[in-house]
Each structure stands twice: as C-alpha cells, then as structure tokens.
C-alpha cells in the first residue's frame, strides 16, 4: 500500500475525484456517468496531444509547434475535403497523420542533424507552420457547409456506447502505453531524459531517438488536426492559437518533468483530464468562463511545486522501478 501511494498518478487521480466531488456539491449531475463520458470525449484531443508532447519532453526537448502543426494539417485536410468530398475519412486521417509527420520530421531533422536546441527550432516552426496555413488557404476559412457530412459526423458516430473520438483517444493511449513500457524505443526515451551521456555509452542513438520523438509529436499533431477541425467544424488560421502552452500545461500537471526522464502515459492523460474537467465544470457551476485561465494557471504552479517536492524526495527512480519489476 505504501508503495502504491508513491505513484504520483494515484495522487492526481485522487485530486480529480475530489474535484469531481466538489463540483457535484454545486451541480449534482456532474458525476453522472453520461456526463463524465462527455467530459472524457471533450478532453480526448488534449489527451492525445499531451501524449505526443510527453515523449518530446521526456527526452529533454520541447515541441512548441504542435498547435501550429494541428492548425496547418487541419486546414489541409479540410480543404481536401471541401474540394474532393469523395475521399473516404480514413484516407483523410492517414493524410493528416502523414502531413503532421512531415512537419514533425522537419523539427526533428533540425534538432538531430544541426543540433539546434528544440525550443529554438519549434519557436521558429511555430510561426512558420501557422503562416503556411495562411499561405495554403489564402486567408479563407473552411466552414461547416463546405465540409462533407461524413467529415463532420465520423468522430461523432457512437460505437459500443462511446463516440469514435473517445475510441481514438483510448486507442492512442493504449498504443503509447505499449510503446513506453514494452518497447526499446520507449525505454530509450526515458534513458535519454535521465542521462544523455550514459545513454550514448549504452548504445542509444540520442539524436535519432530525438528525431523519432519529434516525428511522433508531429503525427499526433496531424491526427489532432483532423479531429479538431471536424469537432469544431471550422478551419481557419486562428485555430488552436496559443494551444501549445495548454498541451505543455497538461503534461506539467500530469507530473511530467520538464527536465526530462520523468513521466508516464497515465500522468499525461490525467493531467489533460484535470484541465478538461475544469473547463467543463465552470459553466455548469455558474463561474464565469473568464476564470478558467487563472484557475489553470494556479493549477500548473501548484502542480510544479508538488512535483518538485516529490522529485527531490524520491529522486529519479524510474529505471530502478523498472529493474525491480
């Protein structure tokens, strides 16, 4: 039991349960399973994005260009759909992931081959990708009436009681869980974050692994691009402007250390859920949505303070934990 309580995710989960409890005292319907399913669905995109950001942060890098990638890919897919409505949605999703992969690979290449710090690279591509969205769209929007019904309804279709969007999120979470805990590349990401020098001696190609994590975050950005556009049924240059920091916030609240090497799939998912619950709860308990920003800001600061204390106490034991298992 004592071991059990050492996991940060348990505390975060407890925090979320308490949060839901508090909200329920003001609005009893909130804890209703149907409503919680809705919250999960609303948060799906943020969860997926947080997982993509997590693998980057684990390797001591950062990807500030995810939201711009999402915006660009979303626009490309929306325009493709507007001009060629016959293209089936699964094909569009593959296109979105591939476009995102290219954008991520550009980031990864610059970090890997030119050794430019990732924060500089992605700061540059953050503005470039969003600017490119303007160039491909000519500044025009793609509105709901230009999108095919399939494009809009695909993620809303119910399957085994959940919308497809939720299933996609669950699938991505499962995939990340497998990669992070059961594959060599997943363990390499942790190793690089904990000690890049030792990783080199252990035979890990640090540069190539960083390239791969940027490819992953790019693919996730692309996937989220389609999901975002078809969910909010508008594609414009302004889509998800500034959202890159929400993604990082979800990771931070989820206990992923910005210094690299610490973090888990569960943490990223719960961190995103925490933010999702807050943004869903404020309107129903009659708090002005203008409070949301300050509340999530406070949550981030609180999370950092708590995580820092935890990290100091137990040190970086992620690999030791794996050895014991």
């Amino acid at each position: 039991m004592k071991n059990f309580l050492k996991y940060r995710e348990i505390w975060l989960l407890a925090g979320i349960v308490v949060l839901i409890g508090l909200i329920s005292t003001r609005f009893p319907g909130f804890a209703d399973p149907a409503n919680l399913r809705q919250v999960f669905n609303d948060t799906s995109i943020l969860m997926i994005l947080a997982l993509g950001q997590m693998v980057v942060i684990l390797t001591r890098s950062i990807d500030l260009s995810m939201a711009s990638n999402l915006c660009f890919t979303g626009m490309v897919v929306a325009m493709l759909n507007a001009t060629h409505p016959a293209i089936p949605i699964p094909v569009l999703i593959v296109v979105a992931v591939l476009v995102g992969l290219v954008l991520g690979a550009i980031n990864g290449f610059l970090v890997w081959r030119l050794n430019i710090p990732s924060i500089v690279v992605t700061l540059g591509t953050l503005t470039i990708y969003r600017g490119a969205t303007f160039v491909v769209s000519g500044g025009a929007w793609v509105n709901a009436d230009q999108m095919s019904p399939d494009f809009i309804n695909f993620q809303r279709a119910a399957f085994l009681g959940l919308p497809v969007l939720s299933w996609i999120a669950i699938l991505v979470i499962a995939l990340f869980f497998l990669v992070m805990t059961r594959t060599q590349i997943g363990r390499s990401m942790y190793a690089i974050g904990v000690n890049p020098t030792a990783s080199v001696y252990a035979g890990i190609d640090v540069g190539r692994t960083k390239f791969i994590v940027f490819c992953i975050s790019g693919m996730i950005g692309g996937l989220a691009g389609y999901l975002w556009i078809s969910r909010y049924v508008i594609a414009s240059v302004e889509v998800a402007n500034g959202y890159e920091l929400n993604i990082i916030a979800a990771c931070v609240i989820g206990g992923i250390s910005i210094a690299g090497g610490i973090g888990s799939v569960g943490g990223a998912v719960l961190g995103a859920l925490f933010l999702g619950i807050i943004s869903n709860a404020l309107p129903v308990i009659n708090i002005s949505p203008f409070w949301q920003m300050a509340i999530s800001g406070s949550a981030i600061i609180l999370a950092v303070v708590l995580n820092a204390r935890g990290e100091r106490r137990q040190g970086r034991i992620i690999l030791r934990k794996a050895e014991a298992a």
């Binding site: 050794n115 540059g124 969003r130 500034g242 931070v252 920003m293 800001g297 981030i300 600061i301």
Partner: protein, 333 residues
C-alpha cells in the same frame, strides 16, 4: 619608492584579432540588416522617408525593451514566458486606476509597480522553491492574464488622460519617438550592466556553471531573483508604452509578445542554453525584426505571412554558422 615587484599585468579582456570581429555574430546581423534595408528601399518608394522609418521603430521598441531584460535572464540560464501576460495585467491595473480618476504619474507608477511585483513573484517561485522557470512562467502566464480576464471579461478600459498618450505616441525631437529614445537609453544601460560591471560577469558565469558560481561565493539565487524582477519591470514599462499607444486595455493585449521577445533574444545571438550573448546583438535583432515586419507591411504582405519570414530568419540565422562550420570540416550530414 618601494621595491615590491610590479604586479604582473593581467588584461581585463584578451585582445581580439580583427578577423574575429569581422566574423562575429553581430557583424552577421549588421550584414543582414543592411541587406533587408537595401531590399526594402528598392521594393517600396515609401520606405526611405524619415517618418516611415520612424513609424518602423514602433514595431519593435516595446518588445525590444522586454527583450533586453529577457536577454540577461536567458544568459543566466532561465527564461520568462509570462512577460506578455505581465503586460496585460499591468495594463488592466492601469485601466482600473483610470476609472477611479488617477492621473498620469500614478498610472505610470502603477504599471511599473505591477510589472515589478509580477517579476518578483516569478523570481520567488524559481529561486525560493527551486522550480524550473519555463514551467513556472507557463503557469504564471495563465495566472496573470487570467486575472486580467477575470477583471475585464470581454470589456475594455478606455478614457486614459491626454497627457498619458505621450509615452506611446509622443516625439522627443523631430522624428525620434519617446519609445525609440527610451529603448536606446535602456539598451545603453543594459549594455553597461551586462558588459562592464561585475554583476554582468556574474550573469554570464551563472549561465555557464551555476554550481561553480555557488562555490565561488556568487549569490546565484539573489542574482536570478534580481533578473526576474528586471524582466517584470521592463514588461511593466512596455505595458505603459503599449497602453499609451493604443489608448485602451483589453485582456488580450500583447498576446504572443513573449515568443517574439524570445525570438529577438535568440536571433541576437544569445545562447538559449545560457552563458553567452550580447546586448548589441539583441538591439540589432530588434531592428532586423522591425525592418522585416515594416518592409513587408509596405508591400502589403499580411502579418501572418511576415511571421513565416521571422520564423525562417530565426532558424536560418541559427543554422547558418553550424552548417558553415560543418562544410569547412567536410562532415556535413
């Protein structure tokens, strides 16, 4: 007449050969600036007009003021992403004060004080609790702008006194605006502090090796705290200028300024990993960004497309020396 041997002369700085000055980062920036200047004058007949050039400076003075302090912070190995949010909060507080009938001096004081307080808050969190600044300031970024949103919602503060307009709209002499004069004056001070005082040397030293600094008796945390306060202070000053220039406050004011200020700093040759950089570089980078934005604006290029150029400029300028070095060593990937 004592006969103690003369102490061996240790120069303050090593003599630099001319070649290193020619191939320095700043020289590269000057070349780029001149090139963009030339292209602009050819591309638009309106460019080479004193008043046009004066308007140009408004593109970067406010962000440049923040970038000066940010440069010191980044050299010391920290970062502040909350600067734009500080601008918004300070502007909101000034707006509140206007509603109670505060005069211009009080408004300026409030703007600067709020900036300083926000900077001190960041500094306390980073130094007292030992938290990574990038995460702390992502949090305070949401917090500060969030407070502005709570106070203002979808409203706007207007009705600033007429005398307040001088800071953002006034001219000191002929085409030289108050904003430009203040920026150049601040640049001079920051240049002196960073390159000519022991405080500045310590900032570099901390960026290179904070642990060694600690053991050498440098009060690392105190210096970092001061740097965060300075960054907050400069954001407060920038807030006074922007609010005065726009004449109104919305909670979304100065959105995205943090990334532009950081772009200036990095373009100016400051290492994002800390420990290296110069104020001259940052000032040149500020001018370059102003030139690019303004020149493209004269050619009717939309702002969002300009950002592509800024982004490309950032990556290319950083990548060029690396590619160049590798080409000379003949081992480019």
């Amino acid at each position: 007449m004592t006969d103690t041997p003369a102490p061996r002369h240790i120069p303050d700085r090593l003599d630099k050969p001319l070649s290193s000055a020619i191939f320095s980062w700043e020289a590269l920036l000057v070349v780029i600036a001149v090139a963009i200047f030339a292209v602009n004058s050819f591309a638009s007949p309106y460019f080479l007009d004193p008043w046009s050039l004066s308007d140009l400076t408004f593109n970067f003075t406010e962000k440049g003021l923040i970038a000066l302090a940010m440069a010191l912070l980044i050299i010391s190995g920290e970062i502040d992403l909350s600067v734009a949010a500080i601008v918004a909060l300070a502007s909101t507080m000034m707006g509140m004060a206007v509603q109670t009938g505060a005069g211009t001096p009080v408004l300026v004081l409030i703007g600067i004080a709020v900036g300083l307080a926000c900077g001190a808050f960041n500094g306390l969190l980073v130094t007292r609790l030992g938290l990574p600044s990038i995460v702390v300031t992502i949090g305070t970024m949401s917090l500060f702008r969030g407070i502005a949103f709570i106070i203002l919602g979808d409203q706007a503060y207007k009705g600033y006194p007429e005398s307040f307009a001088f800071f953002g709209q006034g001219y000191v002499w002929w085409v030289f605006s108050f904003e430009l004069a203040l920026f150049l004056f601040a640049a001079l001070i920051y240049w002196f502090v960073l390159h000519r005082t022991s405080f500045g040397r310590r900032v570099f030293a901390i960026g290179n090796n904070p642990v060694a600094c600690q053991f050498s008796g440098v009060r690392v945390d105190r210096i970092k705290f001061i740097l965060f306060c300075l960054t907050g202070l400069m954001s407060g000053i920038a807030s006074v200028l922007i609010t005065s220039r726009l004449g109104s406050t919305r909670p979304s004011i100065a959105q995205g300024y943090e990334l532009e200020a950081i772009t200036m700093v990095v373009l100016g040759g400051v290492s994002i990993l800390g420990g290296a950089g110069s104020i001259l570089g940052v000032v040149l980078a500020a001018f370059i960004m102003g030139l690019v934005t303004f020149g493209l604006g004269l050619l009717n290029v939309p702002g969002i497309v300009m950002s592509i150029f800024i982004g490309l400029l950032l990556i290319i300028v950083i990548a060029l020396p690396i590619v160049w070095r590798r080409l000379r060593q003949g081992r480019f990937a």
